[in-house]
């Protein structure tokens, strides 16, 4: 687990002029995504979901913030993508149906958790092989319209795939309109990054002439960096985050180094306690109801 995250750019100064409405919006999406995942966890444990599931609990702030800080891009992500799918407007009914294996699912029951897609919302599916969507994202960027862009999420494990590194090189050479987001939870299945490599992605991206930085999953940091890079694409943001559950399934590897959800909730509760409580309550009710309704189709 990451121990020195305080060195990755999280400073009090950043919070002095924060638009708190923006933070509330992000918290709302995070809470909504978390309630979705809580339901997946609940029904997986009850045996109503037989597919493999890759939960994004703990990492929601990245999807929530990137979706708020970008303008309707094409989006590609890999497994652990439920929050990305929801934050970028993917059809939630179809997502639930997919997880429970119905014909009405986002992939007609063929994919389960990793390959979820919603092409109408510009969300492109993943084959399930980690990182192989990164070159595909570059191909998409070759053919998009002038003012369009691509956001490509991947993990710290995928970053080590040879084809991901080659794709970064291609994006840098061709000046593609792509924002790469590495959701760095420091684990490939359960193997820490330090046991796998001695380089960091920020430096690699820089060597490919890609603007890059290495930060934590603090929403203010993420949105500031996106604003900084939006006219300088391609860019890469390596975002340190904490996976709260197993690589696959619903178990726990122990207490994470930090919980961005709790940190943000605590911060916002100082001034907006009632609003924060309402957000959580409403999202839980909405999501529980949605799940119950979809499960009736089983």
């Amino acid at each position: 687990m990451i121990k020195n995250y305080s060195k990755l750019g999280l400073t009090k100064k950043l919070y002095e002029n924060v638009d708190q409405k923006f933070l509330l919006k992000i918290f709302d999406i995070m809470s909504y995504c978390r309630e979705f995942e809580n339901n997946v966890k609940y029904y997986k444990d009850k045996g109503l979901i037989s597919n493999l599931v890759y939960l994004s609990i703990g990492q929601e702030s990245i999807a929530a913030t990137v979706s708020c800080a970008t303008k309707n891009p094409w989006v590609l992500f890999q497994h652990r993508g439920h929050s990305n799918y929801i934050a970028f407007g993917g059809n939630q009914k179809k997502l639930i149906d997919e997880l429970i294996g119905l014909e009405t699912g986002s992939n007609r029951g063929y994919g389960g958790s990793p390959p979820i897609q919603d092409f109408n919302k510009k969300i492109i599916g993943h084959s399930g092989l980690i990182g192989d969507h990164v070159p595909i994202a570059c191909g998409v960027a070759l053919k998009i319209k002038k003012n369009d862009s691509v956001v490509c999420f991947f993990g710290d494990g995928a970053a080590e795939e040879d084809y991901v590194l080659s794709a970064l090189g291609f994006a840098g050479s061709k000046k593609l309109q792509i924002l790469f987001i590495c959701e760095d939870n420091d684990l490939s299945v359960l193997t820490p990054t330090a046991d796998r490599r001695n380089w960091n992605l920020k430096d690699v991206a820089k060597s490919f002439n890609i603007q890059s930085c290495d930060i934590t999953d603090d929403p203010i940091l993420i949105s500031n960096k996106i604003n900084l890079y939006k006219n300088q694409l391609p860019a890469l943001i390596n975002i340190r985050t904490c996976r709260d559950v197993w690589h696959e399934g619903t178990g726990s590897d122990g207490k994470p180094a930090w919980s961005r959800y709790n940190i943000l909730k605590k911060y916002l509760s100082k001034d907006f306690l009632q609003k924060v409580n309402n957000i959580e309550k409403t999202n839980k009710l909405t999501m529980d109801k949605l799940w119950k309704k979809r499960l009736q189709k089983l």
Binding site: I136, V140, K143, A167
Partner: protein, 304 residues
């Protein structure tokens, strides 16, 4: 003057770029020779990839999702091994898994001889034949090339086009040959072996061995006309010949299908089950005329 296969490919590519806003994408496309004169010599619509196999085909597949129907060029079929994953795991699965298509036209160029040995010798379309949802063909003539291009533009699927350098300078059409009502055998030629099969028919005619010849353009799905199947039904046996490895390959698979369709014995002849070497004595490529005739003689002996 009739256009050669290479000129036909070049013309198709040019029209695709000009009229369909298509792209041609690959490594070293703009180098000397423009891929054996099959790429229009200009930059418009041509995307030069870095020397990045795997990622390269992923980039081409990605482009196919947004439109433009990319023509993805692999200068040697040996590079198919590296580039296979995005074609097999993404493009072929796209319609089923995601509900949207990935129409990519993969030009995989086979070559052999000239000291290429273990590096670039051979055709490797067989490995793709075991993957669902890929159309696989091996055009050897200008008309065939035009035909498969029209099919590609009609469909929304990935195509693997197993080309062979040997065909590029040829402008002739290769028609099926039905010389006999009751032939000794019907020969099914695939890829560059088709040029040799024509010669085999002529040579064996002089020796009194009756051979009809069927040209196999579509490897997957295979398509055989009544006339082609009837020729086999009226033969003592069939023989499928191809440039790729015989073991677990196109020849055996198609021979099995033909056998099931006609209840005739159908044999296979492809490259041998050994690594090719650079020295001439170690080459292992398409069966030669001599090898095909030798195989036919052995089979005739066995049958008689």
């Amino acid at each position: 003057m009739e256009k050669t296969v290479a000129e036909t490919i070049k013309q198709i590519t040019k029209n695709h770029i000009d009229k369909n806003k298509g792209i041609v994408i690959g490594q070293c496309l703009t180098a000397v020779g423009w891929v054996q004169n099959t790429i229009p010599p200009r930059k418009k619509g041509t995307i030069e990839l870095p020397m990045t196999d795997i990622a390269g085909s992923g980039i081409a597949v990605g482009a196919s999702l947004i439109g433009g129907r990319p023509i993805f060029v692999l200068r040697f079929q040996s590079l198919l091994w590296l580039n296979a994953s995005p074609i097999v795991n993404y493009a072929a699965k796209a319609k089923t898994l995601f509900g949207y298509p990935a129409p990519i036209f993969v030009r995989a160029i086979a070559s052999e001889g000239g000291g290429q040995g273990p590096i670039h010798t051979g055709s490797f379309h067989s490995m793709f034949m075991s993957v669902p949802n890929i159309f696989i063909c091996s055009p050897m003539t200008p008309k065939e090339y035009k035909k498969i291009w029209v099919e590609f533009m009609k469909k929304n699927d990935p195509f693997l086009v197993s080309e062979h350098r040997r065909s590029y300078k040829s402008s002739k059409e290769l028609d099926d040959i039905y010389l006999y009502k009751k032939p000794d055998l019907t020969l099914f030629g695939i890829s560059s072996t088709r040029f040799d099969c024509v010669e085999v028919v002529k040579i064996l005619k002089k020796k009194g061995i009756k051979v009809n010849l069927v040209n196999v353009l579509w490897l997957k799905p295979t398509k055989f006309s009544k006339k082609q199947l009837n020729s086999l039904r009226n033969s003592k046996f069939g023989l499928v010949v191809d440039s790729s490895y015989e073991i677990c390959g196109a020849t055996r698979s198609i021979a099995y299908d033909l056998s099931n369709l006609t209840e005739k014995k159908v044999y296979a002849l492809g490259a041998e089950d050994r690594i090719p070497g650079a020295a001439e004595r170690l080459e292992n490529a398409s069966p030669t005329i001599k090898m095909i005739i030798s195989k036919i003689r052995k089979l005739l002996k066995k049958t008689n």
